[in-house]
Amino acid sequence: MNTSLIHIIKKWIPEKSKVIDFGCGDGSLLKDLIDEKKIRGYGVEIDHNKIQECILKGISVIEKDIDEGIQDFESCNFDVAVMASSIQCLKEPHLALRKMLKLSKQCIVTLPNLGFWKCRLDLVLGRMPVTPNLPSSWYETKNLHLCTIKDFETLCFEEGFVINEKFFLNDKGAKSVMASTFPNTFASEGIYLIAKK
C-alpha cells in the first residue's frame, strides 16, 4: 500500500477504536494503528505467508476468505472496517459493503479507478488498461469488478450509504489538484469513508 494511502487511512481512524481490516496482508497497517492510535485491531487474511507474518507481529489474524465470511463478525460491533484495494476482487462487492456496514459503524474502502484517463486511453487504443495500480494483464488479474469513481459513488447513493470523507490520488500515488477536481478522469485511486444513513 502506498504511503499517502496509509496516511489517510490512519487519519480517518479514531484513537482507541475497534478496527477490522479485511485483506490485512502482513498486518503492517494494524500494527501501526495499534502502536500509534491504541486501537483494538483484527485482521482477516487468506494468504498463508501473510497470516504467518501477522502472527509473528503479534497481530490478531483470522484465516478466512472474505468472499464467504464477512457476515460472521456481525456481532462484534466494530468502529471502522477497512477494505483496502480488494473490494474489486470480491464476487459481490455491493453485498460485501452492505455486510461491512452491518458489523461496523464506518467503512474505509479504497479502489482503483477504471475511469482514469490512462485507462481510457488504453481502451481507446484497443488494449486492456495496465497502470501502476492495475498492474496485471487481463489474464492474470484478480480484479473481477472494476469500476469508475462515478460508478462507485452511484452505488453508494443507490445503496443509501453516506460518503463522510473521500480523497483521490493520481497515478504517482500523490495528491493533485487535477485528481481532486476531476477525480473520475484524473484520479488513479479513490479512498472513501462511508457509513449507513
Binding site: 475497534k18 483494538r40 483484527y42 498463508h48 497470516i51 504467518q52 501477522c54 502472527i55 509473528l56 507481529k57 503479534g58 497481530i59 490478531s60 489474524v61 483470522i62 484465516e63 460472521d72 463478525f73 456481532s75 462484534c76 460491533n77
Partner: protein
Amino acid sequence: MKTKTELIKFNQGLDLESGARLDTFDLMVETYGELNEDKDNAILVCHAFSGNHHAAGNSSDGEALGWWDEVIGSGKAIDTDKFFVVCSNNLGGCSGSSGPLSINPESGKLYGKDFPLVSVNDWVNSQKLLSDHLGISKWHMVAGGSLGGMQALQWAISYPNKLKKAGIFATATKSSTQNIAMNEVGREAIRKDKNFMEGDYLNHNVKPKSGLKTARMLGHITYSSEDIMDQKFGRKFQDIKSKIEGTVDYEVENYLQYKGEKFSDTFDANSYILMTKAMDGYDAAFSSNGSLEEVMRRIKAKLLVVGFDSDWLYPPKRSKEIQLAAMNVDVQCSCVILKGEQGHDSFLFASDRYVKIIKGFLDSK
C-alpha cells in the same frame, strides 16, 4: 534435552468443583529444558484424555515417545533449548498423579471407584498450585489440544494474570452432544464388562480389559476421519500371519484390535470414566449462565486458536466459536484452520504450517 520426572506432593489440599475435597494430592510431573533466571520462559502443556505427564522424548524405560514429541524438543515448534516445558498428569489419571490407582490417605486403601469426580477447572487449579510450587508466576504460554486445549482456555479464564499466551488446539468451549454420546458408548462398554464389578475390580484382582478395549476402538474411529481411514487402510485385507484376532478380515479391524488391546493393558477403567466425564462436563460458560463472552471478557492472554479441517470430533466451527467470542469482547485472538492429515489427532503432529505458526506465536511480542 534436559528431562526431569518427579512426583510432587501437595499438602495444602484442593477443593474440587464437585464439592469433594482432596486433603493431600500428588502430581506426576515431567519437565524439559531449563527455567531461566527470570523464570519467564516456562510453558505448561496440558495433555488430552488419554495422555499423561510424558509429553516428549523417550520415557524413562526408553520405550514410549512422549505424546507431543513431534512438537516439543530441541529445535522443534516448542523449542526446549529456549523454553522450560512442564507437563503434569491430570488428577484422576492413572500415570502417577492422584487417581483411582493411588492410596486414599484416609482409608489406607486404593481409591478405585471412590476417587472423586474431577473437572477441567480442578485440573487447572491443581496446575496453578504446581506453578506456585515451581516458582513460576507467569507462564509464557499454556497450551494443549483436545481436552488439553480446554485446560489452556480455562487457564486464560481462571488466572488471567498468570499467563501471557494460550495455545488452544483442536478443541471447543464445551463438549458437543455428539461428543457426550460417543463417550457414553465407551463408558457403557466398560460398565458392561463382567470384570468391571461396578468399578471395584481392583479389589478382585481383575481388569475390565475387553470393555476398555471396545471403548478405545470406538475412540480411535472418532480421532480419525472417513477419508483418512480410506487412505490409510482402504479395503485391504489383513495378512494372515499378522492377524491379532482370528475374526479379523480387514486391515482397519486389525489396527483397531491392536490399538484397543494395547490401551487396555495400560489404562485404568475408572480413570477412563473420570476423564471422559470431565470432558463431557466442561462448559467454559457454565459459571455465567451460558454467556461465553461474559467469561472470556476476563482474559488478558493472547490466544492462538487452531482447528483442523479433517477433525469431526472438535470440528473447525468449534474453534471459530472461540475466536468469535474473543473478538466480541476485545480479547486478542488469532484463528487458523489447518489442513489436518490425521483427523482430530492432527494437533499431535508437526505439520509445516502448524510448526511455523506455533513458533511465530511464541516469538511474537
